[in-house]
Symmetry: C2
Subunit: 458 residues, 2 copies
C-alpha cells in the first residue's frame, strides 16, 4: 500500500481524530484553561507516539507562566534531508460566545464544513501534516528525516519559542522548516506564502479622575478619559486612511511593479471581500488595492475598547479610566519596538495635559520576507500543483506568524509556508470553520512535499 | 420631650438603623438584585409602620419589570398643610468592585464618615426625614399632614413614577413636595436647589463586519467599528469644549448677570475641584466657570465604551460591533427627546457609509427650574439657617432628579429640594460615603422644616 492509498482507507478515522482534537479547549491566553492546554499537548504527543515518532517530549516553557511545546522526531532516512515541521495546538478565546451557532468545542459538520474553535487556526492543518507523516510511516515510504514541534503559545505571540529554538539549536538542526500555519488563495487555489506581516500589539490606558465620579456632578468640568481616548484614536488615521504615528511609513518596503501585478491577479473581488466580511463598503489606505491593504501595507486596528459602565441599563458615571487594545500589522522593514516608540511619540504630541496615559506592549513580531526560489519552495509548489491541478499563487499574508521568522532567524534555513485555511473561515471570531475537502487535500499535499523533499540533495 | 431632645437621645439607635439600611444591596438596574430591591421596599415600609405612619402600601410599578414604590401617610393635622416627602432606597451598581477599600454593603465608619454604596445617594437622607418624622410623631409635635413616597427606580430614571403620580393624583394631593435627594454647597454650607439638569441617556451601537474577524486577515480593508465610534465621539465636542450636536444650544436658557454673580460666590475653587476629582487640570466649555459648567450649562459625557476583546492578553480581533453609553445633561429649555433627534442628526451627518449605527434612548428627564420665592422654600431656608447658623446657598444642581419635575408637573405644587450630601461623597463610584454630622443636622433641619411648614396658611 502506498501513502495515498493509506490516506484513502483512513479518511473516516482521520476525521474522527480531528473531531477529538477540536473538543479540547486549548485557549492559551486565559489562565483558567491552563489544564486544557496541557491536555492538548499530551494529546498531540500521544498521536506522535502512535504513528511511530520517537524522542517525544513535552517541554514546559517560560517560568511557571508558559504553555507546553511538544517535540518529536523520526530520523531514519540516512543521508536524506531533514525537514522541521511546525504547528500549534492552542486556540483563541471564544467570546462573543452567544454568537456561536454551535458550541465552539463541540465540533459540528454541516455539509463539507466542520465548525469549531481552532478548526482553521490551525488544528485541521496540524493534524493534516501528522496524518501525512502517519501515511508515509505506516507504508514505510518516509524518505526524509522529520522533526516536529507543535507549540501551545502561538495565539499569544509565541513568547518562548525563539529562546527554545536557540537553546535546542543542535537538536532542531534541519535543512528546511515547514510552517503549516497558513491559508490558500481560494478554495481551489493553493498558495505559498512568501511574506507575513509583523505585529505590534499594545494596550493604551488613559486616566482621568482618580476614581469614577458622578457624571451629573462632575461632567463638563473634567476631560472625560473615554472621550480623550476616542479623540486620540480618531487621530491615528488621516482622511486618506493612512496611519498618523510619526515615522510609521519611513521604513516600509515599496512593492515592485511585478509584485503589484501578481497581487492584482488574486481571485477575490472587492464585492466578494465586502460580502465575506459582511460590510456595506470597504475602507482603507488610499492608493492601494484590498489585497495590498491586507498583505503588503501596514495597518493599525482597534482590537478592544473598555471604559466605564458597560452592563445593562444606564449608570451615570464619569469613568476614571479608559482602555484600548490597539495592534499594528507591520511589513518589511518596520519593527514593533520602533512602532511602540512611534505610538508613544504620537501620544506625547497629542494627549492633552488634562489626562495621564500609559502604553503597554502585549505582543511583538517582526515582519518577514522569504526566499521564493529555494528548492524546497519549488518542491512545495510541485506538491500543490499535483494535488490541486493548478499552480499555487505566491502570497503576502496579512497576519503575523512570528514563528516563521523565528525559524528563519534562529535555525538559518529556508522556510516553506504552506497551509489550507481560507480567508472566510472565521478564525478568531465566532463560528470558526474549515472546508473538509482541503483537510484531505492538505494531507495529500504534505505527503507529496515530503516525497519531493527527499529527492533534494545537498 | 420635644423632637430635638428625642433626636438627641436616639442618635445611636438612628445610626444603627442607617447601618442596617446600608447593608441592603438595592441595585435597581441589575435584574439579579430584584429580590434585594423588594427587601429594601419592605424595610422602608416596616420603618414607616414602626414610627406611626398609616396606609402603608408597597406598589408594584410597570408590567413585571418595574421596581416597587413605598407609600405611607399621616393625616391627623386637620386644617394644616400637607407635605409630600420624596426619597428613594435604590442605589447604583458597585463596579469597579476591586476599587472599594471596604465592601460596599458592609457599612464602615472611619472617623466622622460612613462608607457604603448608597450612603450619600441617598439612604442617609431618606432615613434623615424618616427619623425627623419619628421624632415629631413620638413627641406628639407633628403639626402638618405628611405623605411619604420612597421609590426603588430613581437610579434608572424613575420610569414609572410620573404614571404613578398621575394615577394616584387624588391620594397624593398636597400643598408642597419636599425632595430630599440633594446636596449641600459645602460641609457647613447648606443649600436649596432651584434648578436641576435634565438627562438624555443613550446607547450608540456601531456595526462594522457581520461578525468578529481576524484583524490580520481583514485589518486595513474595512472601517473598524471601534475606530469609527471613536471618530464619531471625538467629533461630538469642538476645540472650545462645546457640544457639536446640531441645534444643541438653540434652546438653552441664558444665565442672568445676577445668577452668574451668585454662582461666582460658591465656596469651591478650581484647584479644590481638581483636587477632589483627582485630575491634573480642569476642562470644559470655554467662557464659563466650573460652577456654571457643572450646573448651568448642558454637557455630553461618555459613560461607557465597549468593543472587541477586553480581557487579559492580546486577541487579534477586528470587532464586529462597538458600543458607547453617552449621556447629556440638559438645562432649561432643552428636552431629551429633541436631544435624541440632534444626536441622530449628528450621526446621519457624520457616520460614514462603511458602518451601520443605531441609537437607543435608555433614560430621559427634563431639566427643571423651581420657584425660589415660595413660602415653603422660605420655610426650608429658615430651617437650614437655624440648624447650620448660616443662610443657605441657592444652587443649580448638575445632576438629574427627574422626580423633581415629575412632582412639579404632575402634582402642580411648589417643590422644595433640600438634602445633605456633598459633591465629594463619591456617589456612583467606589467608596461612596457620607459625613455623619450632617445625618444628624439633616434630621434637625427636616424637623424644623415640618415645624415651619405647619405655620403656613392657605
Amino acid at each position: 500500500m502506498d501513502a495515498h492509498t493509506f490516506l484513502h482507507t483512513h479518511r473516516e478515522i482521520f476525521l474522527d481524530e480531528l473531531k477529538t482534537f477540536l473538543t479540547l479547549p486549548t485557549i492559551s491566553t486565559l489562565s483558567e484553561y491552563r489544564a486544557d492546554v496541557q491536555r492538548g499537548a499530551e494529546w498531540v504527543a500521544g498521536n506522535l507516539r502512535a504513528i511511530g515518532f520517537e524522542h517525544i517530549e513535552i517541554f514546559p516553557t517560560g517560568e511557571g507562566a508558559g504553555q507546553p511545546l511538544v517535540y518529536a522526531d523520526w530520523l531514519h532516512a540516512e543521508g536524506a534531508p531533514t525537514v522541521l515541521v511546525y504547528g500549534h495546538f492552542d486556540v483563541q478565546p471564544v467570546d462573543p460566545l452567544h454568537e456561536w451557532l454551535t458550541p465552539p468545542f463541540a465540533p459540528t459538520i454541516h455539509g463539507d464544513t466542520i465548525y469549531a474553535r481552532g478548526a482553521s487556526d490551525m488544528k485541521a492543518q496540524t493534524l493534516a501534516f501528522l496524518k501525512a507523516l502517519e501515511a508515509l510511516l505506516r507504508t514505510n515510504t518516509l524518505r526524509v528525516n522529520v522533526k516536529v514541534i507543535v507549540e501551545g503559545e502561538e495565539e499569544i505571540g509565541s513568547p518562548h519559542l525563539a529562546p527554545f529554538l536557540r537553546v535546542h539549536r543542535e537538536k532542531l538542526k534541519c535543512d528546511v522548516a515547514l510552517n503549516a500555519d497558513s491559508q490558500m488563495a481560494a478554495r481551489d487555489l493553493p498558495s505559498i506564502v512568501y511574506g507575513l506581516r509583523g505585529l505590534g500589539y499594545f494596550e493604551i490606558w488613559v486616566q482621568g479622575p482618580a476614581q469614577d465620579l458622578h457624571s451629573g456632578s462632575f461632567g463638563g468640568s473634567l476631560h472625560n478619559p473615554a472621550q480623550a481616548l476616542c479623540e486620540l484614536i480618531a487621530g491615528m488615521h488621516d482622511a486618506e486612511g493612512r496611519v498618523t504615528l510619526p515615522g510609521f511609513y519611513d521604513d516600509v518596503r515599496a512593492l515592485s511593479a511585478e509584485e503589484r501585478a501578481e497581487l492584482a491577479r488574486f481571485p477575490v473581488t472587492d464585492a466578494q471581500w465586502a460580502n465575506v466580511a459582511g460590510v456595506t463598503g470597504l475602507w482603507g489606505e488610499k492608493g492601494f488595492s484590498t489585497v495590498e491593504r491586507t498583505g503588503a501595507r501596514p495597518t493599525l486596528e482597534v482590537n478592544g475598547l473598555l471604559s466605564g459602565f458597560t452592563g445593562e441599563g444606564s449608570k451615570t458615571v464619569l469613568p476614571a479610566k479608559a482602555m484600548a487594545k490597539i495592534s499594528t500589522r507591520l511589513v518589511p522593514n518596520q519593527h514593533p519596538d520602533q512602532v511602540k516608540q512611534q505610538l508613544e511619540a504620537y501620544l506625547r504630541a497629542h494627549a492633552p495635559n488634562t489626562i495621564r496615559w500609559q502604553v503597554k506592549q502585549l505582543a511583538a513580531g517582526e515582519p518577514v520576507l522569504l526566499n521564493r526560489n529555494s528548492r524546497y519552495v519549488q518542491a512545495a509548489a510541485h506538491a500543490l500543483q499535483e494535488t490541486f491541478g493548478v499552480a499555487p499563487a505566491f502570497q503576502l499574508l496579512g497576519w503575523s506568524v512570528p514563528v516563521t521568522n523565528m525559524l528563519n532567524d534562529e535555525l538559518g534555513v529556508d522556510v516553506v509556508v504552506m497551509g489550507f485555511g481560507l480567508a472566510d473561515d472565521g478564525t478568531h471570531g465566532p463560528n470558526e470553520h474549515f472546508y473538509l475537502p482541503n483537510f484531505y487535500r492538505g494531507i495529500e499535499s504534505y505527503i507529496r512535499f515530503f516525497q519531493y523533499a527527499a529527492e533534494i540533495g545537498d
